[in-house]
Subunit: 325 residues, 2 copies
């Protein structure tokens, strides 16, 4: 059994717990939290629920620690810190800061002899893998990534910060015509506006000015100004009833030529009922890889690009060659 620890018990931590239940070669040993451990209601009765303050005591009782904090402030500190004690996995997703994060984690990991796999999930993660495979195979081609239909946490938060907004959910929606133009091999040049639309469901505070709120959303730079945005005002009950789920997904396509005559389309897509549960399942499969690779003596910071696929699965090399090749 691979012994797993979870740090952070929000949506992602809860998803990791559920993913461990689905993987028979793994055991959840402990959940570490910055909150009062007594306030956590966990599914796995055999797991300890502990303050993060005692995490060091688990140094030799856990094979892999899965870090379930956020990319803004948690992971830049936690990943380099905890890879000194544990093999770790994180889902660091601030694309622009990945090189810096990699260096920080790598130097800690090399000194401790542990492995830290960063930026695991679906984007970055599975989408990145598909970009890499498709680029390697079709060097003369063009990449497209579409996201959605799904809830963007960042955009929902941005709406919630507007004066007069009580609550909000924002969906990112890929434009079907743009997607089909790519699939047809037309290699279109697509602007931001042509690729995605944004749909917002907003609950107003009593007495708020709906025209003012709608205007503020639609003109918000970076988040909405470059998109065709629709705003719906709904009741708090309706938001709870119809918009509580966290679906997401998307498409990675590459269109490329192997000769003047012949073009090809490689398409990868995800349709996810729950973004955090799926992301967690990816984290857990890379936790298995971290465990196996560290047993082989590998240390340092790694990404999905560095991990041979066989390490992700709980079957022998003979089995996968026989049943999956």
């Amino acid at each position: 059994m691979i012994k797993i620890g979870i740090l952070g018990y929000g949506n992602l931590g809860k998803g990791v717990e559920k993913a461990i239940i689905k993987n028979k070669d793994m055991e959840l040993v402990a959940i570490f939290t910055r909150r009062n451990p007594n306030n956590l209601n966990v599914l796995t009765k055999s797991a300890k629920v502990l303050s993060v303050d005692v995490i060091e005591e688990y140094k030799d009782k856990i094979d892999v620690l899965i870090l379930c904090g956020g990319s803004a402030t948690d992971l830049p500190v936690q990943t380099p810190k905890y890879v000194k004690l544990f093999n770790v996995i994180d889902s660091f997703d601030t694309h622009a800061k990945i090189p810096e994060h990699f260096e920080n984690v790598n130097s800690s990991a090399l000194s401790s002899g542990k492995i830290g796999i960063i930026s695991v999930g679906w984007d970055p993660g599975l989408f990145s893998l598909n970009r890499l495979y498709a680029n390697a195979i079709l060097p003369d081609g063009k990449d497209y990534t579409f996201w959605g239909k799904g809830v963007s946490q960042g955009h929902s938060d941005a709406i919630r910060r507007i004066n007069g907004v009580k609550d909000a959910k924002q969906y990112t929606i890929p434009v079907e015509n743009a997607l089909n133009a790519v699939r047809s091999g037309m290699n279109p040049d697509l602007s931001t506006r042509q690729k995605h639309t944004r749909e917002c469901f907003v609950v107003l505070e009593d007495g708020a000015d709906r025209n003012q709120v709608e205007h503020e959303i639609k003109t918000m730079p970076n988040y909405f100004a470059d998109y065709d945005t629709t705003v719906h005002f709904i009741s708090e009950d309706e938001l709870k009833k119809n918009h509580s789920a966290i679906p997401h997904g998307g498409f990675v396509l590459r269109s490329g030529k192997t000769s003047d005559e012949n073009s090809h389309i490689i398409e990868y897509s995800l349709k996810l009922d729950s973004n955090p549960e799926f992301t967690s399942s990816v984290l857990v499969s890379y936790a298995r890889a971290a465990y196996k690779l560290n047993k082989e003596g590998v240390s340092g910071c790694k990404t999905v690009f560095d991990i041979a696929p066989k390490y992700l699965i709980s079957k022998t090399d003979e089995e996968i060659r026989k049943t999956m090749l």
Copy 2:
């Protein structure tokens, strides 16, 4: 520059030559053939065209030899033989015999210190990779593979062997309703007949009995009897004009649950103008991996499951983390 040799100059060998032209870090050194080298009209004027009899002289002049023979009789002999001299790549696709082929190639490769990557292409190959990744991430789920729309060489050959048939092309076509049922997350149980249909374009010999030929096709065990098959009789000119291309493709899907509430669909698809040119492009990217891994001291038989994605591409680890993650 990575120095490549090609053994066999049929559709696949020609595709490898075109793929090398698209990859700036590679150079085609020589094409080896069992035919008279003077009869080959190759694209790469700088490449030598030689009899396979002199291949041993190129032992130290070629980094990777790409084997472009067939799985029935060529590769079972060639791959174990030539991995004694070269790093090799093959596209061995007799699924049931992969374990045996692996063992033969592995013992030769370990003794020579070379690497042999077998069963490279799209199925086996990229489809296998997607089955593995999706199974590792969603252990509680169900796999589906659909092929087509595309030309099946094996089925076209089977029709050509019927008395009275002059020429033929067979297309394998996935059933759209079945595909959509899988995409909807219904987890259907699908029979052979429900997944694919077969469409045949047949040119008859003068005086052949079209009813007899149609009956023989539709009742042929293994090839057609289990499918809804349509047969069209056309002229030789029409076959040449409309059915000379070798398109193919297909879909790998996995539908799985991460909890009682939440299901997810992972879908990978290929739409290929030319099956051999695309397969060749996959072979060439794994040739790069064989070169890099052997430089690192790795030897033995490998499959796509054993190769970390970064080895496939001609960019540094820093570049791919910065631009593709």
